[in-house]
Symmetry: C2
DNA sequence: TCCTTGGAGTTCCTTGAAGAGACTCAAAGA
DNA sequence: TCTTTGAGTCTCTTCAAGGAACTCCAAGGA
């Protein structure tokens, strides 16, 4: 085995990585999110090898993150985020937050997010789904769950 | 060039991937977070090749995500999360949320998070840092920022 | 003093994934 | 009929991941 398969580990991080952890995959998802939906467009935008792009797109379609939609009588397709994929974009939004804070330097963030609800340029914060208070690495205890390995 | 360098792209997702996007890296961060701090322990827990583990640990130390602490007169070291690293764990918490929802199956989540503030087993939700309302992929507009490429 | 042990890497070899670029295929248009 | 275009395949080379053996070094015995 060349690259270890993370999908069988009893860990939601490893399983999620099995879906979107390969090189380029998050950038492909980003492109599709911002409206770069076609093979040729994605390939040019990222400068990714065509072979690898084919593999990544197929992988994401297999895992229900993207769907393939024909847009012509000819064999032409667009890729769109499914519900799963749209929710997976949460991960990328948090990456953006971290990258903006720690890696953007003096130039500032390359991209801004304007929140529909309040109309302000803002960023995401992690909150407890139960009580609404901030919930970060230092605010939690980790417990074994029902799906823990034997 | 064998593996494309994402660090120079004008995109916080790509830059963040440059730090934690290589295979194994998120799992190394997870291990350090849960208290698996030593080379030998991490290697055995993950089953990662020693060579790759060395590379990943050095990379994370260089990028300020982990720090190396001696714990003995002998040349023995432990790895710990820095502030940067602790904040990077946010990304993994969101991965856990997605993996728990879409990939855990009937067995349920392998791991649970108990939130200190409310004492409940809970999960993270993304909120707008400005107004506190939910903030997901469909709740935002994307605008060019000051650090956008020319 | 020499031997052993254990942690933390290094080194070496093999396999296979990423990169680059050429090639294929099908339908539409000139 | 020939060309163009989108969406892939194919082929070849290079370098990263896996696996396993090896090194280094200090401490603790015998």
């Amino acid at each position: 085995m060349q690259r270890t398969d993370f999908g069988d580990m009893a860990c939601s991080i490893a399983r999620t990585l099995d879906v979107m952890g390969e090189p380029w995959t998050p950038l492909v998802i980003r492109d599709v999110y911002v409206g770069i939906n076609r093979f040729e467009q994605i390939q040019q935008d990222l400068g990714i090898s065509r072979k690898v792009l084919t593999e990544r797109l197929n992988h994401l379609v297999e895992h229900g993150v993207l769907e393939r939609r024909p847009y012509d009588n000819r064999p032409r397709y667009e890729y769109h985020l499914t519900e799963r994929g749209t929710e997976l974009f949460d991960v990328l939004m948090v990456m953006v937050g971290w990258g903006d804070k720690w890696l953007a330097g003096t130039a500032g963030p390359p991209v801004l997010y304007r929140h529909h609800a309040c109309g302000e340029v803002s960023s995401v914060d992690l909150r407890c789904a139960h009580c609404g208070e901030p919930m970060h690495a230092t605010d939690i205890d980790v417990l074994p769950g029902p799906g823990a390995a034997a």
